[in-house]
Amino acid sequence: MKIRLLCKISYFLLIVALLVTLFHYNLAYSKSFSVDDFLDNPSLYVGEKKTIKGVYAGRFEQGFFMIKNQRTVKVHLERNDDVNYGPPRYGEVLIYGTLQRDGSIFAEGVHNYNYAYISIYGSSFLAGLIVLFYFLKEWKITWRGIKRA
């Protein structure tokens, strides 16, 4: 009986520890950033360096557009990069750059996730199925928890 009570108290303390940690984590990394916030109010973020991953959406002179959470971001490239840059193949593009007052980004680093839709997302889906197969082979889900199959 005492052990059961002790287990319940420990479990409750773990939940409290997790909640406190999540709260602390949010405070510790207080500068949360979203592209939506930046596009709605770019002047607040001028000069900040950020990394953003999105979908390539076409070129313009000395740069390209990318889509992040269904919104379009204008990315300027340095002149040298502009000549060499080609769009990603079946994948997204990752940029690191400085946020500008007009809601655009001046990229200092660009990486194309070529074939990521297959090599990352497609294979991850397959992996999910493999884990599900192993799980259902070894366990069964009941109202009282997960039991050996």
Partner: protein, 157 residues
């Protein structure tokens, strides 16, 4: 993140090496760090509300994952210490392989809550994870073959 396939193959290698009975628990551990943080990938298909999703990233932090593992282990009607160890092993393989990754910014907060610094070896981009997957697959098949040979040798002797 390397893709999940790389994560689970690495986890399987360790599960086979250590002869773990319930491999699926190690595999779940190997995917655990990505389950919540990657929910934001939904934005590829639908617009997601502009909330603060930072707390989801916390579930990719070793310290938080230890707490999560201790909390979810009782879901399995099995020896608690075994479940915790196997989930922990899977999670450890995930975080170690993520430490190989290259970023412009970021990494793994190995020492959180003592410091908010993130650590990474900056070796390979996530889309190049085949560089880890192929050796891991080879290692897995070699282990399986060696185990089979040993089993056959036992039966014949």
């Amino acid at each position: 993140m390397p893709d999940w396939l790389t994560h689970i193959v690495i986890a399987l290698v360790f599960a086979e090496l250590l002869d773990i009975k319930k491999k699926s628990v190690v595999l779940i551990g190997a995917l655990l760090p990505d389950l919540l943080p990657k929910l934001t990938l939904l934005e590829l298909f639908i617009p997601i509300p502009n909330w603060n999703y930072q707390f989801l990233d916390a579930f990719h932090v070793p310290f938080v994952l230890v707490l999560v593992i201790l909390l979810i282990a009782p879901l399995f009607r099995y020896k608690y210490s075994h479940t915790v160890t196997w989930l922990g092993l899977g999670t450890l393989t995930h975080l170690l392989s993520d430490t190989l990754l290259r970023h412009f910014l970021g990494g793994i907060s190995w020492l959180y809550p003592f410091t908010t610094d993130k650590y990474t070896l900056n070796w390979i981009w996530p889309d190049q994870s085949y560089l880890v997957l192929i050796p891991a697959l080879l290692a897995y098949f070699i282990i399986i073959l060696m185990k089979k040979r040993r089993k056959n040798a036992k039966y014949t002797s």
